[in-house]
Symmetry: C2
Subunit: 372 residues, 2 copies
C-alpha cells in the first residue's frame, strides 16, 4: 500500500488529476498494490477566500508522504508569481526537490513541429536543478525600502559600473540574484551522471559560463570534477543559447542533459514542444530521500475549466513517473504503453485530433492496462 | 562618404568580413556612395601576445565612427568569457548599444528544421535589450575575497533563505546579479514600439515575471506604461519558456518581440535556427545616437579558419543592417535581394548545399548587385 498526497489545484487541474488517478488505481489493481489518496485543497480559490497559499502545517503533514500528485495552479484573478512562488516553488524548496526530471520523448503517432524527426530521434531526458540559481527569490525594487542594506550594495555596484547616480532616483532600479552552491550543483550532477549510466552514457551540461562567469563558472568547475568519477560517461557542454538550436536541429544528439534551474525551465518547454506539446509533457520534482512531487508541466488553462475537454495525458504520464519513483517499474512502463495505445487508436482529446472527452481518457487507459 | 571601423577578429572572422566588404563596396558603387574602412586588429591573437583586449584609447577612437563592422571572436586557447566580456560586451556597454536587433526571416530557398513553415510564416524581428539584466557582470565566488561586503550580504541572504551556514564553508558559493533600470527598459521598449509601428503593429514582450518577480516585474510595469503611448500597437506577453514553444510551433504569430538581455540571447539563437541556422543570422548592436556595431551572430569557428569554406552570408546580411542604419535603405534592400539570388541560384557554400568557396560568395553577390 502506498500513500500519495493529491493536489488537483486550479482550472483544469481537478479534471486531469481525476483521470490520472483512475489510471494509477488500475495499474495498482493489475500489478498488485493499492494507493491511498489524501486530498489537499490548495490553490487560487482558497487563496482568494482566505489569503492562504500553503501553510507550514500542511507542509509538515506532506512530509509524511513519499509522493505528491500535483495538477496545476494559476488563476487570472491572481497576480503572476503569487501562486507559483507561494505554492509550487514553495513545495519544491521546502522538500528540497533538487531534481526536476523531464523526459523528452516523442511517442509513436504524435506529431512534432520538426521536419524529418520521429520517435527514434526524440528521446532524451532533461535533469533540471530545481532549488537554486535565479529561482531563490532574492531580489528587490529600489522602492521596497525594507532591504536597505542590500540595496546600498546594489547601488554602489551600479554606480561604479555605469556611472549612474541612482541615489537621487531611487525608484528606478530592480535587481535579482542567482545563487549556486557547490553542494547544490554536485548532487544534481551526480543524479544526472547516474541516470546517463542507465541509458546511452552521454551527458550534456548546459551553462552560459562565457557571460555569467561566476555562477556558471562554478557549475562548470563542479561538472569537470564530477565527471572524473564517471569515466564511462561521455560529456559535453552546450551554451544555453546554442542548445535551443540543437534541440530543434539535432535532438538525436542528446541522451541526458543537466541544466541549472532557469535555463532548465526554458529548454524543457522547448523540449515539450518537440515531443508534441504541453499536452504530453510530464515532470517529476524529486528528492531521492524525501517527498517528491509529480505534475504535468502545463498550466491550469482557466478558460477550459469544467468543460471536460482538457488533455489529461501529461498528468497520466506524470503518474507513470510517480510509479517509477516509488519502485513500481513494471506498472510505470505499462502506463506509458497504454498511453501509446490510446494515441495509436485515436482515443485522445480534440487538441490531439480525437473526439474523446477528458473523462473518457482515464477510463480508456485504465481498461487498456487491465486487459494488457 | 561613410567611415566604417572594421574588426575582423578571430577564426573565420577575417575571411567572412572580407566578403562582406566586397558586397558593401559594390553597393556603394551602385548607389553612389563610398565607404572608407579603418581596420582594428583586436582578438585572441593579440590578447595571447600582449594581454590586451580592447584598450580605452581604441574605444575613444572608435567613438568617432557611427558604425563598426565586426566579424567574430573566440579561440580555444582562451578561457570562456575573457574575449566575450573583454571585447564584444565591452563594446556593447561602452557605446551603450542598448538595442540588439535580430531579424528572423526565412529567405526563399532556405530550409528550416520546422515542418510546414515557409518564408510567409517566418518573418519577425527580435529587439533584445543589450546593456542590462544578467549581462552587467556583477557577481562573485565566495573565494574571491575582494568583495567582502557584497559577499557578506549574500551570505546573510543565503543563510536566512536556506539555513545553510556558509560562513564556515566559504568557498562553496557563487552569485550573479541582474539589474534592470526603468530608463534602460523604457528606451528599448520605445525602440520596439516604434519598429512595430513600421511593420504589422504587433509587439510581444518576453519575461519571467512569475518567478523573477523583481526585475521582470519592473520590465512588465514599464511595458504597461509605455504601451499607453502607442495605442495602435497590439501587445501581448509571453513567458520566456512559453515563447520558445511558439517560435517553433507558430512563428507566424510574431511581428516584433522585445526581450530582456539574457532571454534575448537564448531566443535569438533559436530564431536563427528556424530561419536556416547561424550561417544566415545577422545582428545589429545599436545606439541610435552613437556608435553601432554589426556582426554575424555566429562564433569564430576556429577549426574552419583559413580553409575558405566558411559561409559569409550572415556577415553580408549584417552589412545590410549597417547600410540600413546609416540611411542607405535602397542599398540595404539590394544586398538582401542579392543574397536571395545567390541562394536561389545555389551560389552558396557547402553548409548550404552549394559548391562555392567563401571567397567566391562576395564576388558573386557584388556582381549581382552591380548588374541588378
Ligand atoms: C509555473 C512556474 C513557476 C514553473 C517554473 O518556472 O519552474 C513552470 O514553468 C515549470 O517549468 O514548472
Ligand atoms: C558571445 C556572447 C557573449 C554573445 C551573447 O551572449 O550576447 C552571443 O551569444 C550573442 O548572442 O551575441
Amino acid at each position: 500500500m502506498y500513500r500519495v498526497a493529491c493536489m488537483p489545484g486550479d482550472g483544469i487541474g481537478p479534471e486531469i488529476v481525476a483521470e490520472g488517478r483512475k489510471v494509477l488505481d488500475a495499474a495498482g489493481e493489475k500489478f498488485g498494490f493499492d494507493i491511498e489518496w489524501t486530498d489537499y485543497e490548495i490553490g487560487a480559490e482558497r487563496y482568494l477566500k482566505t489569503g492562504e497559499l500553503i501553510t507550514e502545517d500542511e507542509l509538515k503533514e506532506l512530509s509524511k508522504f513519499k509522493s505528491i500528485y500535483f495538477g496545476s495552479i494559476g488563476d487570472d484573478r491572481v497576480k503572476p508569481g503569487i501562486l507559483e512562488k507561494g505554492i509550487l516553488l514553495a513545495i519544491r524548496f521546502y522538500f528540497d526537490q533538487y531534481v526536476n526530471l523531464r523526459p523528452i520523448k516523442l511517442l509513436p503517432g504524435v506529431s512534432t513541429p520538426l521536419a524529418d524527426k520521429g520517435p527514434e530521434e526524440i528521446d532524451f531526458v532533461v535533469v533540471r536543478e530545481n532549488t537554486e540559481d535565479f529561482y531563490v527569490g532574492i531580489g528587490a525594487r529600489a522602492k521596497a525600502g525594507k532591504q536597505r542594506d542590500e540595496l546600498e550594495v546594489m547601488r554602489n555596484l551600479y554606480n561604479v559600473r555605469f556611472g549612474i547616480d541612482v541615489e537621487t532616483d531611487a525608484d528606478e532600479l530592480a535587481y535579482q540574484i542567482g545563487v549556486l552552491s557547490r553542494k547544490g550543483s554536485e548532487r544534481v550532477m551526480e543524479y544526472a551522471f547516474d541516470l546517463a549510466g542507465t541509458r546511452d552514457k552521454k551527458l550534456t551540461s548546459v551553462d552560459k559560463a562565457n557571460v555569467l562567469t561566476e555562477v556558471y563558472g562554478l557549475w562548470r568547475e563542479v561538472f569537470e570534477e564530477t565527471k572524473k568519477r564517471y569515466p564511462d560517461v561521455t560529456t559535453e557542454y552546450n551554451f544555453v543559447d546554442a542548445i535551443t538550436m540543437w534541440f530543434v536541429k539535432n535532438p538525436e544528439w542528446f541522451d541526458v542533459v543537466v541544466t541549472p534551474n532557469m535555463f532548465g525551465d526554458i529548454i524543457t518547454d522547448l523540449g515539450a514542444m518537440i515531443q508534441g506539446g504541453l499536452g504530453l509533457a510530464p515532470g517529476g520534482n524529486i528528492n531521492p530521500k524525501g517527498t517528491s512531487m509529480f505534475e504535468p508541466i502545463h498550466g491550469s488553462a482557466p478558460k477550459y475549466k469544467g468543460k471536460n475537454v482538457a488533455n489529461p495525458l501529461a498528468t497520466v504520464w506524470a503518474g507513470s513517473l510517480l510509479l517509477d519513483h516509488i519502485g513500481e517499474k513494471e506498472a510505470a512502463a505499462a502506463v506509458i504503453t497504454s498511453i501509446s495505445h490510446s494515441i495509436e487508436k485515436g482515443a485522445v482529446t480534440k487538441d490531439m485530433g480525437g473526439f474523446m472527452k477528458t473523462s473518457d481518457i482515464g477510463d480508456w487507459i485504465a481498461k487498456d492496462i487491465l486487459k494488457g
